[in-house]
């Protein structure tokens, strides 16, 4: 435990620049959106307190907006606002809106009506009643709303890293993808502390008596603006090409770090989620992205893979990995799973992905079509000899593979299948397997080597250049360390790849990563 804490501390020290930057971005994002949410929510709250008939509609809409899952909301924003700060701020603002509107409304309508009558009878006009009486008396309730909104914003702001808006989410999601607990904690602990501290501070303000509250209320807006300024809008990207890399890619030796050391590539980079990265490249928000070589969107968005001429991206051959105990428990499972071995090449996989990602066919349909075409499809059996649990990570290809395996098992054995798809990144999936929550999931040799086993650099260098060596190494080590068996590779190699738009690549004459470096150095 001590060792773990120390390494976390070391990690934080080592990455202190990034950590500080991310924390400041996080605070800035939280408050800039809060500022806008207050600017919109407060007047709306007052409006519906005046015209009660509108309250149902306004609160209803704000409520519905808040139930939209945050990732989905960020997704909706991209076509309109692109990536980066703008959509992140708007999304956060939308989440912060409901508590602010609702509490402003409740605070104002909750004021003793005799006090308002007294104010009127003394000759105050409507504005004076609002600012001198209603606002001040509703303030504790309004502050409670702002407090809720702040805490919500600190949480949701972690997702901003999905759309290249920065924040502590870069560490958190990078860490989840890389199976790096220290990295997760380096993002999660400051985020949690931030939420706790802000909550406590606002709780203090909220419980103040009228005397102290008055002073605080003059300071608060200034503080809000100062904190917002932490987030200097990363709009001044400068000229040149812009790269968008996933949090995972950013932290990997065979990713951004390798690009820097092996190629000496210096490019203006933002961190972005895999889910929106391809689209952003297509809409010219980004020029270079870190994609996967079998991704269907490659085809859909007309992107070109840059040749990895120095070979820094290791092979990522996919194969099912299964608990040995499950292989013993379900006889015939291994042979069934191996039916797929060698059946899916890179181009087939890209096509299957294209169908789900771009043509929006369901993974079930794509899987069935594929099996039927390859004469592997069989009508499901009764499934009376137990249930095999199949997991998958949270991207398209894994859903298809899970469906294919599920159909193979149902058709060829008497087992029932339960799929647990969308298990997030490598860490979540692998932990599920280790803890016997699932029996198997499709994994990639490169991931097994670099994200799970993490041997020292020398060993990595020795096995990584050759796809068979990599496979042999992970196969042996997984059995030894985890009692997990790598079955036969499926065939395709879903490795990392840098990609650009076809058209831009041709225009700039950039076809390999070395070309890209030369282009960047010369411009």
């Amino acid at each position: 435990m001590d060792e773990q804490q120390q390494t976390l501390w070391q990690f934080m020290l080592m990455e202190s620049d990034k950590l500080l930057n991310q924390t400041l971005q996080h605070i800035g994002l939280t408050f800039i959106s809060l500022l806008f949410a207050i600017a919109i929510g407060l007047p709306l709250g007052i409006l519906i307190a005046r015209k009660r008939a509108l309250s149902g509609t306004v609160l209803g809409i704000a409520g519905i907006l808040q139930t939209v899952p945050s990732i989905a909301l960020l997704g909706f924003m991209i076509p309109v606002l692109g990536i980066g700060a703008k959509p992140a701020i708007v999304a956060l603002l939308i989440y912060a809106l409901l508590p602010i509107i609702r509490n402003t409304y409740t605070g104002i309508i909750g004021i003793d009506k005799h006090i308002i009558e007294a104010a009127k009878a003394l000759g105050m006009d409507k504005a004076q009643i609002l600012f001198k009486i209603e606002f001040r008396l509703a303030m504790p309730v309004i502050l409670a709303g702002i407090r809720t909104a702040t805490v919500i914003n600190v949480g949701v702001a972690t997702l901003a890293s999905y759309i290249a808006a920065g924040g502590l989410g870069e560490f958190i999601f990078g860490g989840i993808s890389l199976n790096n607990t220290n990295m997760i904690l380096a993002g999660a602990i400051p985020a949690a502390l931030l939420a706790i501290v802000l909550d406590a501070l606002l709780a203090l303000v909220q419980k103040m008596n009228f005397k102290n509250l008055r002073k605080t209320l003059t300071i608060l807006p200034i503080l809000l603006i100062v904190l917002s300024a932490f987030y200097i809008l990363p709009s001044a990207y400068g000229s040149g090409l812009k790269a968008g890399f996933t949090p995972e890619f950013m932290g990997r030796q065979d990713g951004d770090l390798g690009l820097k050391t092996a190629y000496g590539l210096k490019i203006n980079t933002v961190v972005i989620s895999d889910a929106v990265m391809y689209k952003a490249a297509y809409t010219k928000e980004l020029d270079v992205i870190s994609g996967y070589s079998t991704d269907g969107r490659l085809k859909a968005f007309d992107l070109k893979i840059l040749k990895d001429d120095k070979g820094i991206f290791p092979p990522y051959y996919a194969a099912p990995i299964v608990l040995q105990s499950s292989l013993a428990k379900f006889p015939g499972l291994e042979n069934t799973l191996n039916l797929l071995s060698g059946k899916i090449s890179d181009s087939i996989m890209t096509d299957l992905n294209y169908r789900t990602d771009y043509l929006h066919q369901s993974p079930e349909r794509v899987a069935k079509d594929f099996l039927v075409k390859n004469k592997l499809y069989k009508v499901p059996g009764k499934g009376q000899s137990g249930t095999v649990k199949i997991g998958s990570k949270i991207f398209g290809e894994q859903y298809i593979l899970a469906e294919i395996y599920s159909m193979l098992i149902r058709g060829n054995t008497d087992y029932q299948v339960e799929t647990k798809t969308g298990l997030g990144g490598t860490k979540i999936c692998f932990d599920a397997l280790l803890n016997n929550q699932i029996d198997l999931y499709p994994e990639y040799t490169g991931t097994g080597l670099l994200a799970i086993l993490k041997p020292d650099k020398r060993l990595v260098a020795a096995v990584i250049t050759n796809k068979d060596k990599t496979y042999a190494y992970v196969r042996t080590e997984f059995v030894k360390k985890y009692k997990i068996k790598w079955l036969k590779p499926i065939g395709f190699n879903n490795s990392y790849a840098l990609m650009m738009r076809q058209k831009q690549s041709a225009e700039l004459n950039v076809y390999s990563i070395t070309d890209l470096k030369h282009h960047l150095d010369n411009n």
Binding site: D112, I115, L122, G123, M124, I133, R136, N209, F210
Partner: protein, 319 residues
């Protein structure tokens, strides 16, 4: 001077106030009396436009209030309400200085006036920096009164001003209120449902029922010459006590006999019958001696007083 001419107010199909007309003279204290829902508070609130009438006219000093800016109008009319309505987030000082601020008074002027009022209303001086919830109910009501009086308005509207107080406090504040120099020259319209209170404070009473005026008159007129059944029945429950309090020894003076002896203990004929009875009872006396300003001495006992009282009533009720 206030004049209401055929003022009405409807809420949907219900008529809250129907064709109400009355006049309140300069310096007079008119009490609107009636049960809850009789329209007395609505009537009061139409005088400072807290409620806008559907029909009729309200004139203050001959000017139609409809033609005036409602905020400016209200700043010139003192308003005291049952729930006091102090601003909980203002100190006592800030509560009292709301109107001076709205009128842009100089700070000095406001301060002087506040000190004057605090003194007159017997508020503790150190209470100015406190918040309303730190004061007792009686003190809060005085602050409410101070807030209404601060700009020295000639007109004061009071909506059940003692309604939020307990009986003991209410009695003592009412007495203070009656003796308050500041209020003596003001034109006051006050709403109450408390008959005792109305009779104690009113110059004239306007008795209302179901949005209409039943009778307007002095307390004595209401007691002795009710215009209708409603007026009679409304006071029946407390008639005897009210009459005892209303009628003074001077009223029955003619019906008393001159005293055959002179005592050291002499009383003024301004004493009410009620007070005279109390003196007899509490002093365990059989007789009291009164002396009027002409130096005439008269003597009463319980029997004599009762006889004289009945005679007085018989002559006045039918006259």
């Amino acid at each position: 001077m206030i004049e209401l001419i055929g003022v009405s107010k409807k809420y949907g199909a219900t008529i809250a106030v129907n064709q109400v007309s009355f006049k309140v003279n300069e310096g007079e204290n008119l009490v609107l009396l009636g049960t809850s829902g009789c329209g007395k508070t609505t009537t009061l609130k139409m005088i400072n436009r807290l409620i806008e009438p559907d029909g009729g006219q309200v004139l203050i000093d001959g000017k139609d209030i409809k033609q005036q800016n409602p905020e400016k109008l209200r700043r010139g009319i003192g308003y005291v309400m049952q729930n006091i309505g102090l601003f909980p987030h203002y100190t006592i000082e800030e509560n009292i200085s709301v109107i001076p601020k709205l009128l842009n008074w100089e700070k000095d002027k406001t301060d002087r006036r506040i000190i004057e009022l605090v003194d007159k209303l017997h508020l503790p001086k150190d209470s100015l920096k406190l918040y309303p919830n730190e004061l007792s109910g009686g003190q809060q009501q005085r602050v409410g009164l101070a807030r209404a009086l601060v700009a020295d308005p000639s007109l004061l509207l009071m909506d059940e001003p003692f309604g939020a107080l307990d009986n003991v406090t209410r009695g003592s504040i009412r007495k203070e209120f009656k003796d308050l120099e500041e209020l003596k020259r003001k034109t006051i319209v006050m709403v109450t449902h408390d008959v005792q209170e109305a009779f104690e404070l009113a110059d004239r009473i306007c008795l209302m029922d179901k949005g209409e005026i039943m009778q307007v008159g002095t307390p004595k007129e209401l007691l002795l010459n009710p215009l209708n059944d409603f007026s009679r029945k409304f006071l029946d429950g407390e008639r005897l006590a009210l009459e005892f309090k209303m009628i003074r020894i001077s009223d029955v003076w003619a019906n008393l006999h001159e005293a055959s002896y002179v005592s050291e203990n002499r009383f003024s004929p301004e004493l009410s019958v009620w007070d005279a009875m109390e003196k007899l009872r509490s002093g365990n006396l059989s007789e009291l001696i009164f002396e009027d300003e002409k130096g005439v001495f008269k003597k009463i006992s319980f029997d004599i007083l009762m006889r004289a009282f009945n005679q007085y009533k018989n002559t006045n009720q039918h006259g």
